[in-house]
């Protein structure tokens, strides 16, 4: 497989698309190495995997903006100390692109950094409130939806007992009169989705924002897709759905 030069990392936090203002994103999952070495370890260290944790850091260019929910600085400043969904796609957010997702606490935000003459920069540090899932984009952010529909299918694999299916919904733009979007994740045992099963449903979204949801395995179906119901008068939504198993 070819290596990747990072030019189009898509990072989403709640209702904010951070792509155009970020120039550095780090996603990390780590596990404590717990020492269980004993005299019976034959002279070698023995380790067990302990507690796991997730972290995300994002850095880039300060954007003062005006929209408290969708512009970088007001949104990240307001989110300090709050938990919200984060999705990061390393090579664009096209349909079924690779994505990492979690629900994270914004633990640190530095809104202004730089010396005289520098472009003002920001840094944000997030601590995961749950597992980091490796999955995919199930609905791309740039496709406006005005009516019910379903997304492309992807074979994420079955969800074994002890693992969960995680999903994030980032509603980036809403228009219309009394618009409402109810997104869900469906599963089936084949790509044709002849008999889909709803495995999780997000709360109805009537404004921009983000949601995180998960469901415990086992789920024997190994194909998944996003689906959505839209209501209202002349409704239109831009939203991103990511899902993965962890």
């Amino acid at each position: 497989m070819p290596k990747l030069v990072l030019t189009n990392v898509r990072a989403f936090a709640g209702a904010v698309d951070l792509t155009g203002v970020t120039n550095k994103v780090e996603v990390e999952a780590s596990v404590d190495a717990v020492d269980v070495t004993s005299f019976a370890s034959a002279g070698w260290t023995e380790l067990l995997g302990g507690l796991a944790e997730t972290s995300i850091s994002a850095a880039g260019f300060f954007d003062p903006g005006t929209n408290l929910v969708t512009d970088e600085d007001p949104a990240l400043f307001a989110a300090l100390g709050a938990v919200g969904p984060w999705s990061v796609a390393p090579a664009g957010a096209a349909d079924l692109a690779l994505a990492y997702l979690t629900n994270a606490l914004e633990a640190s935000y530095k809104p202004i950094q730089g010396a005289v003459g520098d472009a003002a920069k920001f840094e944000a540090e997030m601590k995961g409130n749950t597992r980091l899932a490796r999955g995919a984009v199930l609905h791309p952010p740039g496709t406006a939806r005005t009516a019910n529909g379903t997304g492309s299918a992807i074979q994420l694999g079955a969800v074994p007992a002890g693992k969960r299916l995680f999903a994030n919904l980032h509603v980036l733009s809403v228009a219309g009169t009394t618009p409402s979007l109810t997104a869900r994740i469906e599963s089936d045992d084949s790509a044709g989705f002849a008999s889909p099963t709803t495995v999780l449903t997000f709360n109805a979204a009537t404004a921009v924002g983000g949601q995180h949801a998960s469901v415990a395995g086992p789920i024997t179906d190994n194909w998944f897709r996003a689906a959505w119901a839209i209501s209202g008068s002349s409704p239109s939504f831009l939203f991103l759905v990511t899902a993965g198993i962890a």
Partner: protein, 145 residues
Amino acid sequence: MNLVALREALREAAAAVVVDVDVTWLAYVPDDVDPPCGFVQPDTITYDQAYGRGLVEVRMFVTVVVSRTDDQAAQELLDAFLAGAGAGSVKAAIEAARGAPGELALDGTCHDVHVPSVEAYRWFEVGGTEYLGARWTVRCIGTGS
């Protein structure tokens, strides 16, 4: 950023300087000049400063040539342009077009503009003739195009 629009906006901003003589301001490098004359040209473009071509840095040169000789009058005129502030300051004239934080700069052609330095006194060749002048570096940041 649209380079054509950026050139014109930069020309217009620089043309706001006020000195004792009429100055010709051009958005492109001319074949020949009647000094004093200022003109705009790109220097470097650094793409991908943010993901998704969210930020590009374009370094422009604004060059002002004042005379074919280095007599005192020419030097005094150049000194007025070189000042960091004041009616004749090229730096001040360009940075006056920045806009407030959160607003676009240079007639909406870029996010922000900064004039960090100038090279002076130097001799610039235009159309085979050398002229005394100075060259300002102008940093413009904005979205990729």
